[in-house]
Symmetry: C3
Subunit: 471 residues, 3 copies
């Protein structure tokens, strides 16, 4: 008998779990809609992709995993994370895997343990609980599968029943991999997403270089604010031609404010010279978010806004290993006042869609649900990052739905760079949705007919519709 139970995650109550099971049956085999994530398009552009070792696949790219080991005193060098200076790190991936398995108990009760458990069983056919003793056997089993033809990314794409997968791409990206996928004749739908952070956030290093790159790829000679805007519009146009239906914007806060063109240009010029202040950076980002909403009204691209992460909190790790090392820490967020300047201008637009993501759960019921339950342009993204977990999802439903309903949400997105974990993440969401709806049904808050429609909306339709992926 498997240690996994078929009804995993469902309420222990028989009446509720019976309904949850029926609801889940309706959605468990639906195609996966993946409108936001960080899968590398090279996986799907390659005709023969080399996954490397199990550690290359499952540990080194997954900051959820290595930050937990780091928190317990294991260095990133011991885990084989490459250093920026090329300094020595562990190269023996079997040894790294053993360390991970020796410490796998650290993940008890965390979503990482659930995703990997499902992934091993469903993708790799390994129905065993990770421990020190079986570490090498599991390594061998993964390694063998990884090099079989059925584990090529396109084969997995079809096996996973992915209907559409959006990547996330710099504004200056040439989207060559997307072009190669198109030209390959393969039918999988891979669309890019326009993410202009590096040419908007003037406080990040290398702004002038990024603008130079923007000039090159756009064909617009960017020398001032006006040409900068023209170049951004050109890139959006290009992304849209390449299949994009959405943009994505990260910001520490949801601050928005309209600048005059003169002010915007003055900040832009200071930024090019590396003389912009922290206040300049906040004001410029706040202004460009409004401009991006304006462009979205014009070109129809859905606008995503990810707010609230204080990135690279650990300066030594940043210097030694770079960004995305598990040291991004959330901060308190505010939307009611911060987003008002943008909403004053574009919140009433029926054809505009702005999807809000954040890392401060206190704003779910206080600000986000009331805003999304009022403004036609707003939708709420699914629980993000740390909160894409069983309890995180429960809190989201409990705090959002009574005020905003489910139809002001954007359904689910997996937001992952860990390609083979995609089915496990959707399955957790689908089970959580089914169980939560069963909880409503068993209390008579909705009837099972409604729940049966809602579960399909939550698992499939809302994401597709909100991201305009129906075409």
């Amino acid at each position: 008998m498997s240690f996994l139970i078929e009804d995993r995650y469902f309420s222990p109550d028989h009446a509720q779990s019976a309904i949850a099971r029926r609801l889940y049956q309706r959605v468990k085999d639906l195609p996966l809609v993946c409108p936001h994530g960080h899968v590398d398009p090279r996986l799907l552009a390659a005709s023969n992709y080399d996954w490397g070792t199990p550690v290359d696949l499952l540990i080194i790219p997954d900051h959820y995993v290595f930050r937990m080991l780091y928190s317990q005193g294991i260095s990133l060098e011991e885990l084989g994370i490459p250093r920026k200076d090329g300094g020595p790190v562990e190269k023996d991936h079997r040894k790294i895997w053993q360390i991970v398995c020796d410490h796998w108990y650290l993940f008890r009760g965390t979503p990482s343990s659930l995703w990997l458990r499902d992934e091993l069983r469903d993708i790799f056919g390994i129905d065993a609980k990770i421990n020190s003793a079986n570490a090498q056997a599991i390594y061998n089993a993964i390694d063998e599968k990884l090099h079989s033809p059925e584990f090529q990314p396109r084969q997995l794409f079809e096996r996973f029943q992915i209907e559409v997968l959006a990547t996330t791409d710099a504004a200056t990206a040439t989207l060559q991999e997307h072009q190669r996928i198109r030209e390959s004749g393969w039918k999988g739908r891979i669309v890019p997403t326009f993410r202009p952070d590096a040419v908007v956030n003037i406080a990040m290093g290398g702004f002038a270089e990024n603008i130079q790159l923007l000039s090159q790829v756009s064909g617009v000679d960017v020398t001032n604010y006006r040409t900068y805007i023209a170049a951004l519009e050109q890139r959006r146009h290009f992304f849209k031609e390449m299949g994009a239906t959405a943009t994505d914007h990260a910001a520490v806060t949801a601050y928005t404010a309209r600048l005059s063109e003169r002010e915007a240009d003055a900040i832009f010029q200071r930024a090019l010279c590396g003389e912009a202040s922290a206040e300049d950076a906040q004001r410029f980002t706040g202004h460009i978010l409004i401009e991006m909403a304006r462009m979205s009204v014009e070109d129809g691209l859905v606008m995503q806004l990810h707010v609230g992460s204080s990135r690279d909190h650990n300066p030594v790790l940043l210097e030694r290993f770079g960004r995305d090392m598990g040291a991004d820490i959330p901060t308190a967020s505010e939307f009611t006042h911060n987003l008002k300047p943008l909403l004053d201008l574009y919140g009433r637009e029926r054809d505009l869609t702005i999807i809000l993501f954040n890392l401060d759960e206190t704003v779910y019921s206080r600000e986000l649900a009331p805003l999304a339950g009022h403004y036609p342009a707003l939708r709420l993204g699914p629980p993000w990052w740390f909160f894409d977990s069983w309890n995180g999802i429960q809190r989201y439903f409990e705090n959002v739905v009574e005020t905003a309903g489910i139809y002001n949400t954007a359904g689910f997105n997996d937001d992952t760079r860990a390609y083979p974990s995609i089915p496990a993440r959707h399955d957790l969401w689908r089970r959580a949705s089914a169980d939560w709806l069963a909880g409503l049904a068993v209390r008579g808050i909705v009837d099972e007919d409604d729940a049966a429609e809602m579960v399909v909306d939550m698992a499939y339709r809302l994401a597709k519709q909100t991201y305009k992926l129906e075409a």
Copy 2:
């Protein structure tokens, strides 16, 4: 069989729901105490009230309902909401009703759907689930009942078993309707509530006109801060004579601060000339809240404080349709520091009762429960506005009771202008209380004898006692 279940909302666990059912039996037929709400006293003053159409009754006055439709791209004009400029809006109420029913799925899982379901069944005898097909039939059924004698507001008052109903009235109100109700010989107890916001909040439009009105109705020539205070005291005295037991105060924050009479007068004079600043407004409100507490110590009126709504967030709607259009968005609140100046002076008064309401649930466990669990003058109002819902009520109980107990709460109030929804709102609270207490009992945290007393306290006694309605 009805699609409604008799045990609706209760836990699916048999042991818990059995207790919940027993507890609910104790309170389901108790009279309704309605110490705070927004029912128009004209309903009860009229000998023959005209409800208008089902849309006049259920849609146009209910911003909970039309804001959700608005959030999904339906304009307020399409829903028949009157424009301030008298511009064209939909007049065909059958057509509006059809739009509402076509989109009723939006309300799945929201309290609006639960209240209306109960209301249709229990008040109108319509035991059907709203959909596009039955929209006109339901319209007809409501319409017919609305024009029958048993649907006159006073008949409903008696049918609902309302023991006392408080209205909310401007400080400058003459309370003519209350006078007419008294003189009519009808025995229903309707009491006014003194709400001086329009003569306190100097940032609201029309302050000078409101002060002029205050002079007229009070008979005090209000020319400076001292006469202003005298006029307010006169009005409180008048309200109390007319049966009021409470005042009500809305503020964006809980900020309080004592001004000298000279400062208060200087701000008052600037406000009369329309020259007051935003800081003036905050300081003046903060000072008057303290003055109102002082007056409550003297005259015994219970003081309600509603904090945290950023009103009229959508400026175009405000301009076109006015206030209360579903565009009020909560903001973060702070009480520990903000309320200290008031509490330093009056928090220890045993005969003073200040009831706190707010829209930032994070302060429940962090600030409100510890404050109410310490200061004799403080009580916590029930979950307000967006949080008067199944999950909102659970969060309130879970976050408040362990620190403050139930006896530092003010029981329930329905806070509604939707008169026929009053029984449904009390029923939701009573069921939620019974189920939550059953959850304590089944875990052995309280025994069922205690729970049986507590459920009556929560459903009935605490509201009556806290609002001094026992007389």
Copy 3:
């Protein structure tokens, strides 16, 4: 039949409670590790301790209890709380006890009622529900037991199976009681904890006097910042010799910032003259916290940080009765930015342990779990003060574990000055842990084998290991 049920607090679901019961069996009789609390060491130093009356034992020292009665209009004088000016307070402890019992219904649903219920039954053998009628009988029963030899603190220590108990002691304490315990030959392990607040917080009254005392006890003539640091180091060394494994620091916020030695000395000198500003106080505390982390790296003492209480909110009570009168009210906290200067320097230290406690539950999932799930030096303390309750513990587990795991927590500590309530507090935590783990097991999130290890970790091992009490 007792009104207490053996499975109290467990889920009513049979599958879950069956697992909870099995898990609880594994931990219910484990020794108690008490690494943080406020028991007076004189209890255990005395060869014949006089407990006084039941009111001396259970009411007068327990601000959880008397603040609730105060909130309902009972004065502290009526409850026998001694006034600073020696003014008249109730001396008849039977009368006080009657008042408490007459109002015991106020505690329904609060942890105080659960702790006392267990304490009466398990420690005093009184298996009755407190009410007005049995008040005097219960008083008599407690009183009789209190004066029996088996109720001497050391006998209780052994009966409670306390493995180690940490007291909390001023930096200037001579630890005479600890010395007497050592010299007595008694085997109970009592360790001091270094709490330097009174010589660090320059805004508290009496700073200069406290520094003078520091000079005396340390033997270092403290005249400037450098000698001040030397004296603190001397005291830490002394505490460590006396068995201490930890320090403890209270602060209103988690603010940290590095000062130059010149700045630190300038503030120190102003503080000695009573001329320090509020900003000085914040900066000095923020700097000393960093210094304390530096010292902990050097001497290995575990560093506890308790953040977020606005102490002595009610100035009249402070003046009349002193500190710790149930008028400490939480405030919002921020760690992501505030703690960064300290973490930049010492967060990566593997051998440093900093345990964070706070009173703003919103930071659990937003800041604390992500920080503890990253930095090797950080661990999260158990839910503190108001949140050491059934729902408080649930919220802690639900918000912390998915991100930080349980192995970045510090297990449990009872944090109490109410010595005989220690077993009840540990039992509540152990039951809550067992039930929560059973909830994970019944949903298939962890298996029962893992849960069986986790429950022991949570009830016993994590506290012992985190506080370095294994020696």
